[in-house]
C-alpha cells in the first residue's frame, strides 16, 4: 500500500491545468479537470523524457510538451502517437484545502 502525501493546495492548480509535484525523487503531475476534480499521473511522458506539467490540458487530455503525444489523465490511457505506453495514475483525494496523492 502507498502513503498519502500532500501534493499541493487546491488553489495551486487552475481548472483545466496541471502542475508538477516531486516526492521521493519522483515527479508526479497533478491535474484539475474543467469540472474541478483532481487527478494524478506519473510526471514524465512515457515516450521521451519530458515533464507533463509543461504540457497542455484540454478537457480530459494532457498533451506532452515535447512531441504532442496525448493521454487521458483520468485513466492514463495513451491516446495518440507518438505516445503508445499508458501513464501510471495515482489515487487522489481532497482534504480541507489540500490535494493528497497516494504515492508508491
Amino acid at each position: 500500500m502507498g502513503r498519502w502525501v500532500i501534493a499541493c493546495a487546491i488553489d495551486d492548480v487552475d481548472e483545466e491545468d496541471v502542475i508538477r509535484f516531486d516526492h521521493d525523487g519522483r515527479a508526479y503531475a497533478i491535474y484539475k479537470s474543467p469540472q474541478g476534480e483532481f487527478f494524478a499521473t506519473n510526471g514524465v511522458c512515457t515516450h521521451e523524457h519530458a515533464f507533463l506539467s509543461d504540457g497542455l490540458v484540454m478537457g480530459d487530455i494532457i498533451e506532452c510538451p515535447k512531441h504532442n503525444g496525448r493521454f487521458n489523465y483520468r485513466t492514463g490511457e495513451a491516446k495518440s502517437a507518438p505516445a503508445c505506453v499508458n501513464l501510471a495514475t495515482f489515487p487522489v483525494r481532497v482534504e480541507g484545502g489540500d490535494v493528497l496523492v497516494e504515492v508508491e
Binding site: 521521451e48 519530458a50 478537457g59 487530455i61 491516446k79 502517437a81
Partner: protein
Amino acid sequence: MAGMVIVGAGECGARAALALRAKGYKGPIHLVGEEADLPYERPPLSKGVLASEEAPPRWVADEASLADRSITLHRANRAVAIDRDARAVRLADGTGLAYERLLLATGARPRRLQKGGTDIAGIRYLRHMADCRVLRARLGSGTKLLVLGGGFLGLEIAATARQRGCAVTLIEAQPRVLMRGVPEAIADVVAARHLAAGVDLRCGVQIAGISADENGAEVALADGTVLAGDTLVACVGAAPNTELAAAAGLGVDNGIVVDALLRTGDPAIFAAGDCCAFPLSSRDGRITRLESWRCSVEQAEAVAGNMLGEERPFETVPWFWSDQYELSLQVAGLPEPDQRVIERALDNGGFIHFHLDPAGRLVAASGIGPDGSIARDIRLAEMLIARRASPDPALLARPDVKLKALLAAQGQSTAIFTPA
C-alpha cells in the same frame, strides 16, 4: 493480391503503415526500406542516441508489432521502378509488388560536399542509424570534431559532442547560425550557449578548401586560417528523394508535388513526409516542402486516411524544435523578417516571440528557454495561428495573460483537439 505499398520505412512510412491497419484496412501492406534497421525515430540520432552507446534507438515498430498487424517489411531493399500502368513497384532484389494505392515516403538525403563534380571522401554525414553508429564511435573524449553547418543538425551534434568531451569547431558560412527559419533573437541565445560550452564558433567565414580522410580533416578558410580535426561532419541541408517519382513521370518541384489530399497527379499514388511538396494550409495553400518531424508524423496519419478514400485535406501549422544543452527552442509557423514581433519575457530567462503579419494576424511564434518552459505557450500560439487569430498585441506581451484565455475568446476552443 494488390495491396498498399509504402516506399520508405522511415517514421512517416512506418506510421502510415500502422495507421492503415488501425483504420481497418484488411489487405496486404508492404513497407519497403533501404535501411537494415527496423523503423525508428530519427530526431534522437543527433541527441540522446548520439550521446550514449547505452541509448537504444526508439523503434516506431518492432518485428512483433509488424507481425501482429501483418505488415510485411522489406528491409535493406529499395524500390527501383514504378510501373504505373501495371500498378506495380519493382524492388532492387527483383521482387514485384502490385499496389492498389502507393505511398512514396522516400524522405530526404544529406547534401554532399563535392569537388570537381565528385563527393569529397572522408566527410561524415548524419541521416541514418548506421551513420549515427559510425559518428558516435569516432566521438571519443578529446576528439577534435569539425562541424560544417550551423543549422539544427550541426548545432545538435556540436552540443552532443561537447557532452562526450570532444573539442568542437563549428563552421558556418552565413553570418549567424540558424539562418533558415529561426529568428535572430533565438539564434543569438543558441550561439551564446555554444560559446559558453566551449564550442569554437566560426560564422560568416568563407571556405576555400576541404580535405578529409579516415585519419583527419582540414578546412581552409579564405583568410588563410586552417582548421584541423580528427573528424569532419557536414550538415549542409538535405535534398528530397524524388528520383523514383520523376522516373515514373510524376510532378517534381523541390519535392514530389501533391495536392491537399497528399495525392500526386496519379490518383493511385500519394507522397508524404520530407520528400513531398504540399499546399500548406496555414500559409494560404502555398506549395511548401518541410523537413519537420511532426509534419511527417501528421502526414502519415492523414495520408493513410486518404489512401482509404477519406478525402480529408491535410491541414497543419509547421512546427520545429531543437534541444541543445538544457535549452529547448520551438518555432510554430514560418517566421519572416518583415513581420512585427511582440515579445513575452518569461521569469526563467526564456522568451516567446509572436510574429504578426501587416494585418495583425498571428502567423508564427518562436521561443527558447530551459527544458519545456516555452512549450505550452508555443502550442497555444500554434492553435491561435491555425484559427487565423489576430490577438491583441498588448495581451500577447503580458506573461500573466494566459494564451488559453485568448484561445477561448476565439471560440470553439477544443475544436483542434479532435479525438485520436
